[in-house]
Symmetry: C2
Subunit: 393 residues, 2 copies
Amino acid sequence: MEIKFARRTEQMNSSVVRETLKLTAKPDVISFAGGMPAPEVFPVRELQAAMNKVLETSGRVALQYGPTDGYLPLREKIAARHRKAGISCTADDILMISGSQQGLDLAGKLFLDPGDLVVCESPTYTAALSAFRAYECGFLPIDTDDDGMIIEDLERKLAANPRAKVIYVIPTFQNPTGRTWSLERRKGLLKVAEKYALPILEDNPYGDLRYEGEPIPPLKAMDTQGLVIYMGSFSKTLSPGIRLGWILAAPELLQKFNTAKQGADLQASTIMQMVVNTYLEDYDLDANIRKLNALYHKRRDLMLSLLEQEFPKGSSWTHPQGGLFIWVTVPEQIDTAKIMPQVVARKVAYIPGHSFFADGGVTNTLRLNFSNASEEKIITGMKLMGEVLREQV
Amino acid sequence: MEIKFARRTEQMNSSVVRETLKLTAKPDVISFAGGMPAPEVFPVRELQAAMNKVLETSGRVALQYGPTDGYLPLREKIAARHRKAGISCTADDILMISGSQQGLDLAGKLFLDPGDLVVCESPTYTAALSAFRAYECGFLPIDTDDDGMIIEDLERKLAANPRAKVIYVIPTFQNPTGRTWSLERRKGLLKVAEKYALPILEDNPYGDLRYEGEPIPPLKAMDTQGLVIYMGSFSKTLSPGIRLGWILAAPELLQKFNTAKQGADLQASTIMQMVVNTYLEDYDLDANIRKLNALYHKRRDLMLSLLEQEFPKGSSWTHPQGGLFIWVTVPEQIDTAKIMPQVVARKVAYIPGHSFFADGGVTNTLRLNFSNASEEKIITGMKLMGEVLREQV
């Protein structure tokens, strides 16, 4: 029986990251592929205590439907954290969502008509490309360097492309490069966005994971025109398995996200919102973040030193001050997608770089995650990868 | 700053039910508005025990990312339950989602191009209309009676409307009417769907809530062509606050839902899936369902007798054998949306019927929920509603 699908399904493809995760889920595979936190630093006992408290004191509320906006005490705490970081906001500016990925889908729904263009970094988060593609958009990938998007390239391309509709960026510890935009570039982006009245989706799941250097204000902290839609997440600071993120935006914009969220899945989990709220009341999220930053800092340093030691001459890589990823460029003759099966055969996994480019093309890059694997596994895995790569040159 | 939105946002509106819920969330309001379970029968202690077990034995897995398909042991248990109810399936036919509402959004994304028509019951679930409208579709509402969709009306309208793309139905304890389709109508629908190769979304959140009469097989149990996409939910049998539902469909169709789910929010909550899996291992969901059915049965009977007693002459209503709702038709001169403020002023709430009609029009109907309020509140609320309604005639 031949069922007819919507035209958009021709553009929808399975996420390379998610598919690779499935392939590499076997416990004997050393995976540098996903963006997974280290499970050994999950605050399991603390979250368990918070859950028991919630179910003992307010079980009937926690298991019931709740408002689409989200649980007010949690939204107040999130707003207070943002105020401390320089963003002027209240709970009215916060909508709870089922992980910050959902913010990308809802934004696509609200902003994108077929043929509209999403302005993005080149390279950028592959699952954001997937989320937006479902709305039959095109992309306007902007060149980047160690300081972020190159504003001259942005201006040139915006002038030539009137269908640009929304800007998507990950300014801090970018996925996949790990790079952080300079303050100057951030200001430059805001100025250009204002000129064209383009909303900016600021995706910031990694911002708290800083191991060195000084924090740079998020775009939202400098947003005088209400153009920035900020997406936050508990996935990297607390747990991704609870599926909780939020959108921070001006109330009139947020109302549209609220309507879209209602249709998409009614609301985020009541119980998980209450558990995180209790966790924030009874424990110290910043102490938890310091603990995982200490661990990730060590793993990043280890991976950087192994890159130096094991990867073929002519390779180069980023030096992220935080986050989860290192972006590697290997000698030009190596196609990182083609050699992937050889590396997986030695039970090591990574993500080939091409899927992070909206326009494809680049074949000699790859993304490495350093947060998830133990130091022992990082050493073994990097040596095995290095062997395969060195055989290619 | 004038931000441009996608064209579809012109059709997106906030759910009347969700907005009414916000208005009536005050504890002194007696609400017959939402479709909320009775919180006093939530298995709070059992779910708490399941959570403690999950976090004590597998905390690091529960708090981590998981596969988009969902947690395999839970999918196996859901498939086994469906097999017992006559649907031939395995875990491979199940995709876990964040509440069955998400299934509607994903289906809209996969099937609907602008201008396509969703075939639906008239009246139907208002939040399904909202979910589909985001894909710029139209609707083909089909007349219904106590036995379900009138197949002759369906055939006539399908013959005249080649843009019909997907069929959306709630055959058991329908929302908003509480009616259940006869076996004959179910077979009739399948035959027509096969003729036109139209996929059927079978929404079945209430099927287990039967207080009397014999179960009628779901459409999926009679689906020989793989056209039926069945949506199930734990919201009404266990808890809506955990946000867990599933899609049951042929694997090739399910793969498309999986891709859409990846882009939408990556995956359902790992921890909540594991908690429900442990609950199903350690406790008896059917015993829980029997407990809440006994309670809802009493409340339904009470509300039916109060309708007889308190509502103005010339009113009529459905006699649901299960589910959560009674559908009431009041004398023609009463506009149930217009008198809503008067009823809310007496601190009682319901949902005016017009929002359940894709084509609007009908003004003298309303939906009553009988599962959420205590018997005492049902008596008080129905008397207050009756007073206002009787004043109108």
